[in-house]
């Protein structure tokens, strides 16, 4: 069929019975030379993260940047309002009464850090994205968010051959192997 020509194919998907089988399949795929792949689990499985080597996330850095921005912005605001724009001399007390500015500064740091963590997670994950090729597979929709463990060998790497990937995954003892179409 014309649809199964390579650019139209997102990849080849295999479903496994347990996280253990999924991890074993990831390792074997790596050994067989597959590079572009993704796994789908109904809950975070640390061994899968390890096997795919996904421990490096930019999120902590993004959160720190958000928190620092928030702290600087709120302290700056408090300083500018109280010492520059509208200075009030109350019994000669210092205009830059920085200890009194700390509570609002802290809240500003948490506010912007928290938003950076939440929104940053979505952006790094490419969400919101209402549709994705993997949803074309019926069993994926039925089981991925419930009790299914899926591995997708993705097309797009040099020399990717769907038929060979299919044969390779079938040999790993999956429940089902499906081709994931882009359309």
């Amino acid at each position: 069929m014309e649809k199964k020509s390579e650019p139209r194919l997102h990849g080849v998907m295999a479903e496994f019975r347990s996280p253990q089988e999924l991890v074993a399949a990831i390792r074997k795929s790596r050994e067989a030379g597959y590079i572009r792949m993704d796994a789908y689990t109904p809950y975070p499985v640390e061994a899968v993260t390890d096997a795919l080597d996904l421990h490096h996330t930019k999120l902590p850095l993004l959160t720190l940047a958000g928190a620092v921005f928030g702290a600087v912005a709120v302290f700056g605001l408090a300083y500018w309002c109280s010492a520059i724009n509208y200075p009030l001399n109350i019994g000669g007390r210092p205009l830059n009464s920085w200890p009194a500015f700390i509570p609002a500064t802290f809240e500003g740091a948490v506010f912007h850090g928290g938003l950076a963590a939440g929104i940053g997670m979505l952006l790094l994950n490419g969400l919101p994205r209402p549709h994705h090729p993997v949803f074309n597979v019926k069993r994926f929709v039925e089981h991925a968010s419930k009790d299914g463990y899926f591995l997708v060998l993705e097309s797009g790497e040099a020399g990717f051959d769907a038929a060979a990937a299919r044969t390779f995954l079938s040999a790993l003892g999956p429940i089902e192997v499906n081709e994931v179409e882009n359309e």
Binding site: P19, P42, L115, A117, M121
Partner: protein, 465 residues
């Protein structure tokens, strides 16, 4: 050790009291929890309809009380000089405190890797948001000119003035608005994978569309989970100091003032402990009836109830210590106004409220030392209700009793609540319960993806370094 590794030790507390009943797999957990939400409208249980109707009725009491307040003014409440803060601020502090248990359960227990929290955290986080919604309303209602709350924010305008960043009341604005926002982010981020489950589990097209939009296209990819888990930890790490700061700042509203009974350094830790104490009482108040009604005994097990009772007992003791230090500091200060404040609490016109507060918050919770009491749901529920009342009284005693008798006897006056005070408070309970009923019907009450990771299938996954 002579124990063999082949069989679990008999004394293993986990084996004795599981956090998830045996025999569950990721599939059955999902069916049980998602089924509560995705069942047909006609299958909505009778108790839900009844409970929702009563709560919604109470919510309308709030609408009436607030309308009256806006049309007439603050005078419809019993607040007057010298008691300018009364039921409004008492209830504000009470609601904020209740919210804190939610953050404690979701953030601090996550950082401490207490997996027993997995089944109650979603519910507790929802409770946080609903309680903060109730709390946030009071300061604005209390303004007297409720159309001017934006004066509290640093907005440039024709006013040409800025809020006073040295005032604890402005710190409060920053603290409570940050708390509400970050709690909402934490709750929503935590719900995204479960919303995806509901999207895939729903049969109705409308439900798929709504849950699907809210799930933002979540597909459970390993790349997603890696960032997601980092986000959960970061949000927990931010929420933990946040929750401590919020109630500390709320306590600054009082302790920065000079009124005897307010001006004390013990307030921040003692307010935070009291908040957790009251919050866990509220979680139990709601979870205990929900457990049999929704058939959640497999997920919210006796171990959860035991643990929550122990947290209440511990924080209750910290609160009792706070009361002790308050009295001791009043005497030890050698300040006649401070010492009079303490004598007035014990023997003055509000002695009944103070006595009840000691009974509710110190005496009754001691029953939780007894294991039989901790395992009896009726006893536990009653004690939780007593603590809810006691913690409201605590804030009432601190706020109203201190204000009613300050330095100069000619300035003294009693506070008398009006029916609008009562209606406003009852109305916020209505708001809280209405939101809770909507939540348990339309959103996943328990965290499905975390419950799946508690199943034996998931627990046996090998770790590799």
């Amino acid at each position: 050790m002579s124990t063999t590794f082949d069989e679990p030790r008999a004394a293993d507390p986990i084996a004795q009291a599981p956090v998830l009943a045996p025999g569950h797999s990721p599939g059955t957990v999902t069916e049980a929890i998602a089924g509560l939400v995705t069942r047909k409208v006609a299958k909505t249980p009778k108790w839900w309809l009844l409970g929702f109707a009563v709560s919604f009725g109470l919510l309308n009491v709030l609408l009436f009380a607030v309308t009256k307040l806006f049309m007439t003014g603050i005078g419809v409440w019993g607040n007057n000089i010298p008691v300018g803060w009364a039921w409004d601020i008492t209830s504000f502090v009470w609601w904020i405190g209740i919210g804190h248990a939610g953050t404690l359960i979701s953030a601090i227990l996550l950082l401490l890797r207490q997996s027993w929290r997995n089944s109650i955290n979603r519910f507790a986080e929802a409770m946080t948001i609903f309680a903060v919604s109730c709390a946030g309303m009071y300061p604005i209602l209390h303004l007297g000119r409720p159309w001017l709350p934006y004066w509290l924010l640093p907005i440039p305008g024709t006013l040409m003035a800025w809020p006073n960043f040295r005032s604890p009341l402005i710190w409060d604005v920053f603290a409570v608005s940050t708390y509400a926002t970050i709690s909402l982010v934490f709750w929503y981020v935590g719900m995204i994978p479960d919303l995806a489950t509901l999207r895939d589990h729903s049969t109705s097209r409308v439900a798929r569309l709504i849950y699907g939009s809210a799930a933002l296209g979540w597909r459970g990819s390993a790349r997603h989970w890696a960032n997601y888990e980092a986000a959960a930890l970061l949000l927990a790490g931010l929420s933990t100091p946040l929750v401590l700061s919020v109630h500390s700042i709320v306590s600054f509203d009082f302790s920065i003032g000079i009124v005897p009974g307010w001006h004390t350094t013990v307030f921040p830790p003692y307010f935070v402990a009291g908040a957790v104490f009251a919050g866990f009482a509220m979680v139990l108040t709601l979870v205990l009836p929900l457990r049999p009604l929704f058939g959640l005994k497999d997920f919210i097990t006796d171990r959860h109830l035991q643990n929550m009772a122990k947290v209440m007992l511990t924080t209750g003791l910290i609160v009792a210590y706070g009361y002790g230090i308050e009295a001791f500091a009043a005497w030890y200060s050698g300040n006649p106004y401070e010492w009079y404040m303490m004598k007035n609490r014990v023997t003055g016109p509000y002695a009944l409220q103070y006595g009840l507060l000691l009974l509710c918050n110190i005496v009754v919770p001691q029953l939780l030392w007894i294991k039989k009491v901790r395992s009896n749901v009726w006893a536990l529920w009653t004690i939780a209700m007593v603590i809810n009342l006691g913690m409201w009284l605590e804030r009432f005693v601190i706020i109203v009793v201190s204000l009613s008798r300050d330095f100069v006897p000619s300035n003294w006056a009693m506070f008398h609540a009006t029916r609008y005070d009562v209606m406003t408070f009852a109305g916020t309970i209505g708001l809280f319960l209405t939101l809770t009923f909507l939540f348990v019907r339309f959103l996943p009450t328990l965290n499905m993806y975390e419950m799946r990771s508690l199943t034996p299938e998931a627990a046996s996954t090998p770790h590799e370094e």
